[in-house]
Amino acid sequence: MGANPAENHPISFRWLLKARENGGKIVSVDPRFTRSSSQADLYAPLRSGTDIPFVGGMIKYAIDNNLFHKEYVAKYTNASFIVKEGFDFKDGLFSGYNEETRSYDKTKWEFETAEDGTPIRDESLENPRSVFQLLKKHYSRYDVETVVNVTGTPKNDFLKVCEAFCSTGKPGKSGTIMYAMGTTQHTVGTQNVRAFGILQLLLGNIGLPGGGINALRGESNVQGSTDFGLLFGDLPGYVGAPKALPEHASLKAYLEKETPKTGYWSNKPKFLVSMLKAWYGPNATKENEFGYHNIPKGNKNYSHMALFNAMYKGELDGTFLIGTNPVVGGPNAGKEKEALSKLKWMVAVDLWETETSAFWQKDAGSNPEKIDTEVFLLPACSSFEKEGSVSNSSRWMQYRWKAIEPKGESKADLEIIHSLATRIKKLYKNESTPAAKTINALHWEYGGHGEHPDIDVICKEINGYDAKTGKLVANFNSLLDDGTTICGNWIYSGFYPEEGKNLSKRRDNKDTGGGNFLNWSYAWPMNRRILYNRASADPSGKPWSKEKAVIWWDGLQKKWVGNDVPDFKPVVSPSEPGGQNPFIMMKDGVGGVFAPSLNDGPFPEHYEPFESPVANLFSKQEMNPTVFIFDGSFNKKGNKSKFPIIGTTYRVSEHWQSGTMTRNQEWLSELAAHMFIEMSEELAKEKGIKNKDKIIVSSARGEITAYAMVTKRFKPHKMNGKTVHQIGMPWHFGYKGFATGDTANRLTPHIGDANTNIPEFKAFLCNVRRAD
Amino acid sequence: MSKQQQPVVQVRRFSMAFVIAHAVNAFAFFALYITALPMYTEFFDWLYPVLGGPATARLLHRIFAVMFITPTFIWMIFDPKGFKLWLKELVTWKKRDIEFFTEFVKELFGFKFKHVRQSFFNAGEKINSFIQIITAIIVIGSGFTLWFPELFPKVIVQWGYFLHNLGFGLAIAVVVGHIYLSVIHRHSSPGYSGVITGKVPAWWAKGHYPDWYDEEVEKGNFPDLDKEDKKPKGA
């Protein structure tokens, strides 16, 4: 659901087919019948942007039919917690909403706690203010009729999906939800994933083999780069980035504010201090708070759209675009291209000249004479021309070796960054401006020669070592907050525990039990393969079932044993305090059915997309009330009278992202050589369009020309007595490379999720007509 | 013609148009034969380099194929009378035509035989003509499908290969006999000059095509050999 693994993550699909050979069932929920759907046992269409009603309906189905895993829910989730009086939900809004700031006062969603701060629980789940009862009440509105009237799913198909998936609530059964950008690229993206989380917690499907909610990562190393602080709100290892707030003014204040008392994150000071030591080396001392003051702090939204908005307004001087092609891949791409021309300089690092690094050229439809942006293009190595690790969706850090020498003057990203850092440091060496101070404080000693740093030195820094002896630490349990340990990224600590022993290079493909391959590469944290695997055993430490056993408590050895590295303190017995709290990264040690930390509410609630052809049937709130709305020409909104058709974007197997890698490859280009728009036979008939016709798709942002692909695989949504049409298109195309075509993202809006700011690429309004 | 006082009296049997048409036909036939031979049997694969490679051989084959089609038109346009006569003769079959064959076999192998009275074309030539017409239609028709397979359903093209092969097989068999008779065979070879110069010895013409000869004598075109008492000599 929200993923099309056969087309976009084919290798993951291989394992789905293997699971089916063992009796598994594949369910495909997608607006369009895809290559994944072709292999599915069950297929249910839904209108783009209605995931919460669909999953909300499943949650209701599981509760109403008593299909949820009661003991798991009572013991391992916060369903038994009591929410403080005053929490309410009325007409689409949770309590604490402030219309002016478009935000919630989250203190209205807190749990009742005992004096020591631990939440009060009612494991009978009957307290009317228990999370469970609130959940039940919240989703009582998501009855089948309402759901299918919103999603457009045929009722039978919906019920079949509910029946099949909720059957995994029994011990001995498990089900996984694989999702990708079809889930996240919405104004309610985070809540879509949350809905999956709630359903999986109810069914007891987290922490056991074949369970979980699995994000299919769209880039080979997006997991690794996210782990290393790719997101603007995070430092490496998911340590929150400090902001320009009084609470973050000093390290002490930051740690006090951001360190929970319980759960594994209570070790945060050790991770942050060790990281500061890695960055600032000898310049990080106890006296100067380990160089904490050097970390840049700001209060703005530094997400993609916000940056381009600022760029468009002329607020940015320059930008580095490393392996990114926003003129094809960014939302409202036409406007993003315009924004680039407001820059003074731009550095693009890529394998090819992309539509972005060539945005100023005539071919791009620009007038070079009117653009003052100075563009530097640094040729980068492909993955085959360099060594390093790639982390997959299962958090396996797999080392790869160089296959061929780099072509031409191209360099590995690591070499480019290393080169930049050493040169910048040289430039500022004799200066004492504030900017120079932070640069001079940076400890950049990675050995090697010239532009080539010693990659092992970097690996060792990531793993961590003793500041005095230089001895590598075994794992993050050895990290300290007094500046005596150095660690670049705590979650990876342990992958290089001894000199010359890089565990990500391991290639032992022997099944070490339970389908785990513990000696193949390294999975963070601590080589654990199944997160929260304590949940695979019942509170007493016995596996819920033999079939799905992962770890169990061995009373004789007095430790947790099994097929995987316990994601738990291995010597804490089930009867000890915390011994029944599998979700160790959560403050309270249990799964969060109720999430009082998100911006748009503790329970997922359906709101229509930014642009929708129908009114919200659940409440008066049309759109997620907490999304940030960019103003002005950067964010034009289309209405349903002019643009009655839902548009969505996606990828095809043959191309990758903005197409830079694949449209420059002839063998892939010939397989998917043309920009196309998929539409139903019904819509084509209505519009007088025949298969293969050239058509024009327009939205409030722009219009594009492409070929019509009229297909039986798209069917109009019939809901609430109305017919709503939907079309879909790949977003890979641009004017460069062998396979060229108009860029779908010229149609997409500048609006994003309330928590992550991911743009809403997957549901927008448009119209189609024949091109001639 | 008859006035020419040569050792052997010559009479015109064929028009120049026919002579040219026949020459073109014969040339094209052999050119087609040779350019196709390496395709027909691997024994002649050594011809490929001689012909400039398979591609050139195919090109030549197509050029000669066009040439092969032209003789009919040359004859038809430049000697419509002769062409018409041919067609007329082809459809005229009498008892003597049948008798011809028994005698022909004797003649062929050098036994004693008697001339069955024949008109312009004897029955053998008519049969030859028929076979050549049919095989030409087969070969040319199927050749089209092979040259332009995209214009025809696949099954037609597939049968085209067979027919081309069949037509060729028949044609070459007949042609071998035809050439033998005209060039080598003692009794019929005097007629050979007919397709080279258009003229044949009068005595031979009278012997082989008495009806025609007599007709022409009556018209005053040919000398009456009996009256002139000219003893023709063997060629």
Partner: protein
């Protein structure tokens, strides 16, 4: 000699087309961009430079349900191959693996194989020699016979991530197909094993979810009757006729020589007498 076969279970194919790319990669074939075909399919059929094509079929089954069918289409490597039969140069031949391959050296580019293949998988490629002169060669999937000779698997098989393709001993592949057929009969009542007898069976054995015609395959492919008559009858008979005529002519020549000598002087007029 053990016969080998490629097993293709189209019901496991997810249409990723890695087989197409790996084929071009191993065999070093150029890209052939096509016009938009109105579906996800890239090429209408296999060509001289695209030896396997994944066909995409949207099929509504008898129950009215939509099926999105994929088929890896390439040479079937028939046991009795029409292309081998009609090849005038013996360029097309069978290998010890049971595969049918073209000897480039011998191929003269006549295209007989192209027209006679019941599956339409052979095509002519045009090349240029060093003098710039064009020449043609028939091309098609070789089942990577060059890899088989080195003990490797066909390139397409090695990249098939869903396990839709395998290569192995033909008997085992047929057993596999039969087992698979039994598994999927419930879901696909029309499922069948495609190993057509009209061409003596093939060395690419398919498990099809629907009737062959749904996949654009002939239901009962066979070596064209015309090719059989042509190659097994017409051509030998033609050669025989040519021989017979030649013999007749030679015989006639000799007998004429003999009788002419005997008769010489008796009858200069060849013994001919009018009436």
């Amino acid at each position: 000699m053990v016969e080998y076969a490629k097993y293709v279970d189209v019901t496991k194919c997810d249409g990723c087309r890695a087989c197409m790319v790996s084929c071009k990669n191993w065999n070093d074939l150029p890209a052939e961009p096509q016009d938009f075909l109105g579906s996800n399919q890239s090429h209408a059929k296999v060509t001289a430079n695209t030896w396997n094509v994944l066909s995409f079929i949207e099929h509504e089954n008898s129950k009215g349900n939509l099926e999105y069918l994929f088929r890896h289409s390439a040479c079937f490597h028939c046991k009795e191959a029409a292309c081998v039969k009609v090849c005038p140069e013996e360029a097309l031949h069978y290998t010890d693996f049971g595969t049918v391959v073209i000897n480039d050296e011998k191929c003269v580019g006549c295209g007989y194989c192209v027209q006679n293949c019941p599956f339409d998988v052979v095509s002519l490629a045009t090349y240029k020699d060093k003098h710039g002169k064009e020449y043609k060669k028939a091309q098609k999937c070789t089942m990577c016979t060059d890899r088989l000779e080195e003990g490797m698997q066909p390139a397409c098989v090695t990249v098939c991530h869903t396990g839709a393709m395998e290569f192995g001993e033909k008997d085992k592949m047929i057993q596999k197909a039969e087992k698979r057929l039994a598994e999927i009969k419930g879901k696909f009542p029309n499922a069948n094993i495609y190993n057509p007898a009209g061409v003596g069976g093939t060395h690419a054995i398919y498990v099809l979810a629907e009737k062959p015609s749904v996949y654009g395959l002939p239901e009962n492919p066979k070596v064209p009757t015309s090719a059989v008559i042509w190659k097994d009858y017409a051509q030998p008979i033609g050669k025989m006729m040519l021989g017979a005529t030649t013999m007749a002519v030679i015989g006639a020549y000799i007998s004429n020589k003999i009788f002419y000598k005997e008769d010489h002087g008796h009858d200069e007029n060849g013994g001919g007498s009018n009436e």
